[in-house]
């Protein structure tokens, strides 16, 4: 069993679907932060059999919970201070997301207008459906923006 040390201050993202930790790393733009990050892949899990874990040593305010909730709201977010878990944050689907996913409708104004942000709103929280603010095109998984 691989051992990764405790972090003093930061957050631990637990119960990430196995194999998805690098996507999360990318979408949270952790590569742009000057901090220690541990990516643990395929850890054993009673609940999920296999899971990924991300440990990040940085200010909790630097974490975009909306993006995280949009990608997978089943992830557990543990906030760490002085080496201890001080809070577990519940993720709720954001009402609106900006430049996280891209509208792929070729008829949408976002396909031609310079520097127009790609904004999607939560159209149906039960079915977790997001639609483009401008053309109402439904989000499909392939629309995730690569940073």
């Amino acid at each position: 069993m691989l051992n990764v040390g405790k972090i003093e201050e930061g957050f631990v993202l637990d119960h990430i679907k196995a194999g998805k930790s690098l996507d999360i790393y990318e979408h949270l733009q952790l590569d742009k932060l000057d901090c220690t990050v541990a990516i643990i892949k395929n850890a054993k899990s009673n609940k999920m059999e296999k899971k990924d874990i991300l440990k990040v040593e940085c200010d909790i305010n630097l974490l975009d919970l909306d993006v995280l909730a949009f990608i997978d709201h089943n992830i557990t977010v543990n906030v760490i201070k002085n080496g201890e878990i001080v809070e577990k944050k519940d993720l709720v689907l954001p009402k609106q997301i900006k430049n996280v996913i891209k509208c792929h409708n070729p008829r949408c104004i976002t396909s031609i207008e310079q520097e127009l942000p790609h904004i999607f709103y939560l159209a149906d929280s039960e079915k977790e459906v997001y639609r483009c603010k401008y053309c109402e095109e439904k989000y499909t998984e392939s629309a995730l923006v690569k940073h």
Partner: protein, 303 residues
């Protein structure tokens, strides 16, 4: 300052006030002949649409205002690569209100976000065409005296027909409306609309033959199969003549049924139907001017 992007931007109470104003304009045109004196409407049409553009221009002229604008993208700064955001910022300096048609969905919304003057969506691709929906609602309300308690048949291109989608979304806010969708398999109404109707517990049927349901209808909304919505010319040619309303079919309808059509018609309604008292589509074009007059007055806060 308000814009109009979708027919749902107005509550049903606000729509009632708008339609009351439109009916007052219809009956007392002289009262409004100078209501927009000194005001300018910009018609920014990035794709050709003679009917909608002339309807807006007629509306503003009848209110005593003036009109500037362009009628296709080639004669606008878009041809030089200017963004919609920049164009509307400039137009805001020239006019008091803008009606915008654009082939890209959501373009008028982008304009509305940057504009200093009210923006009316005059059609954005296959997405929304709110002033057509307001026209349809005003026609029904004026000729039937109400907007509830109908069985409405929508016939033709229900897949790409934005006027149909907008009208359905607008009508579900009224009580006791039943929808009958009449279309070939390939042009059926999209799933998100039937899902919405099921969720709201609103009755609907989907059929292929118009004759089978004609006697049940209080309103028949005909649409054209539009060539510009197809990627494939073969599909267009195969489906364009699927429905043609003629006197034989109309003979099955109720005496007081109304036939509506957003126009232009190609051949989906035979010319022989035009003289039947149930044919309301030219009257509808007239109501289009009244409702646009009422809308301009309302958005300019002159009502």
């Amino acid at each position: 300052m308000r814009n109009l992007m979708s027919p749902l931007d107005f509550t049903t109470e606000e729509l009632d006030r708008l339609f009351d104003l439109a009916n007052d304009i219809e009956h007392n045109p002289g009262k409004y002949a100078h209501a927009c004196e000194g005001k300018i409407l910009a018609t920014c049409f990035y794709e050709p649409s003679t009917r909608t553009r002339l309807s807006f221009e007629s509306a503003m002229t009848r209110l005593g205002g003036r009109v500037i604008g362009f009628s296709d993208a080639a004669s606008s700064s878009a041809a030089k690569g200017e963004s919609v955001s920049d164009t509307i910022r400039v137009i805001s300096c020239y006019a008091d209100i803008c009606a915008m048609r654009h082939p890209k969905e959501g373009a008028p919304m982008v304009a509305g976000e940057k504009s200093l003057i009210p923006v009316i969506n005059a059609g954005d691709g296959g997405h929304q065409h709110p002033t057509q929906t307001l026209t349809d609602l005003l026609t029904i309300r004026s000729m039937k005296g109400r907007l509830n308690g109908f069985t409405i048949g929508l016939c033709g291109d229900l897949k790409f027909g934005r006027t149909v989608h907008s009208l359905i979304n607008a009508l579900v806010r009224y009580q006791d409306i039943k929808f009958i969708f009449i279309s070939p398999e390939e042009l059926k109404v999209p799933d998100y609309i039937t899902d919405m109707l099921r969720e709201k517990n609103i009755a609907y049927e989907e059929v292929i033959r118009l004759e089978d349901v004609m006697p049940k209808l209080d309103l028949l909304y005909m649409t054209r199969v539009q060539k510009e919505r197809f990627f494939n010319e073969e599909d267009y040619i195969r489906l364009k003549d699927f429905y043609i309303l003629n006197m034989d079919k109309l003979a099955l309808a109720k005496e007081d049924m109304l036939v509506l059509h957003p126009l232009p018609r190609v051949n989906e309604i035979s010319v022989e139907v035009d003289d039947d008292p149930r044919a309301a589509y030219f009257k509808q074009a007239q109501y289009g001017v009244f409702v646009r007059m009422a809308l301009i007055l309302t958005l300019l806060e002159l009502a």
